[in-house]
Symmetry: C2
Subunit: 202 residues, 2 copies
Amino acid sequence: MSTGATVSARGPGRRPGSPDTRAAILAAARELFAHRGFSGTTVRAIAGQAGVDPALVHHYFGTKNDLFVAALELPVDPRQVLAPILAQGADGAGERLLRAFLSVWEDPDARLALLGVVRGFLEPDGHRLLTEGFLPTVLVPAGVALGIDEPERRMPLVASQIIGLIMTRYVVEVPAIVAMSADDVVATYAPLVQHFLTDPLP
Amino acid sequence: MSTGATVSARGPGRRPGSPDTRAAILAAARELFAHRGFSGTTVRAIAGQAGVDPALVHHYFGTKNDLFVAALELPVDPRQVLAPILAQGADGAGERLLRAFLSVWEDPDARLALLGVVRGFLEPDGHRLLTEGFLPTVLVPAGVALGIDEPERRMPLVASQIIGLIMTRYVVEVPAIVAMSADDVVATYAPLVQHFLTDPLP
């Protein structure tokens, strides 16, 4: 929308309101989240690294959680995808979660972007984006919204299922897993995801 | 054992019987398996790249399957670990497989070596070591030895469970998964592995 705006010669990331500012904040956020984790990174530190006022960070990106999700540069905001699924409660949530997951991952453009995110998780310190960011800001709140017991225990187990599926279907591309239709994937994995969501655990 | 042997000046990987020869064969195998996959790599090509006679490859490493497992440089030969488990049949195999898996991965030295293998799988072309090597040479034969139906379909599903566990417990180190005792892991995941081994699938 603002690509036609005149850019001054003051250097990138220094001009309030310019696309450069937004990019500089995002770059600083990605670097700090990756190196210090979610909890070890403050909005103030991100603003400092980007050379802008902290108020501007909030103005552009909202809360630290919002900024974290933006820094992942996901093709979709997982919280928006999840909201209607969570609203229907825990019953059948395993199948609904998998269908929503596949609706994003089976889109070639989205998949390409997400594979970049996954590879980022696997870089040194990158895993903290998952453990200190995505898990507490997206996944555990999803479990809370579903009203399940022990969301801090159950959602990581669900994550292990989904990650196993991502690795075998999209990253390593195991032929037998790739060959499954989306409906096959849902029929095969939904009972297991549902098990971790709501069945008694040891 | 033979580290005290006199090494000639003919260059590495050229002298039959020397440790250099063995290392040169392994290096050639790793490179070719990674770039061309298991099926696209011949013992002859490996011998050619290492500058030795193909007979010497067989002399040192046995079959192409044996050489592939050696090229992974696993701290243990998975086929040796699996043999006694498979001999007991499919009933309860999920729990036995997980216990054997954990006995290796929970050992710090073995884990370090295995993490290197996992990261190798994630490199460009490295996934072929898994899809064209480990899966057909180790995992699917394990399913055949167990006597389960559709081993080509069930063992990749089992692999997706194990890979999800490896990623969350050892690579990304999701705190809730790391915090589980080995017994917790077995009690939590064994029913799911067993499900993929022997329950009716969609």
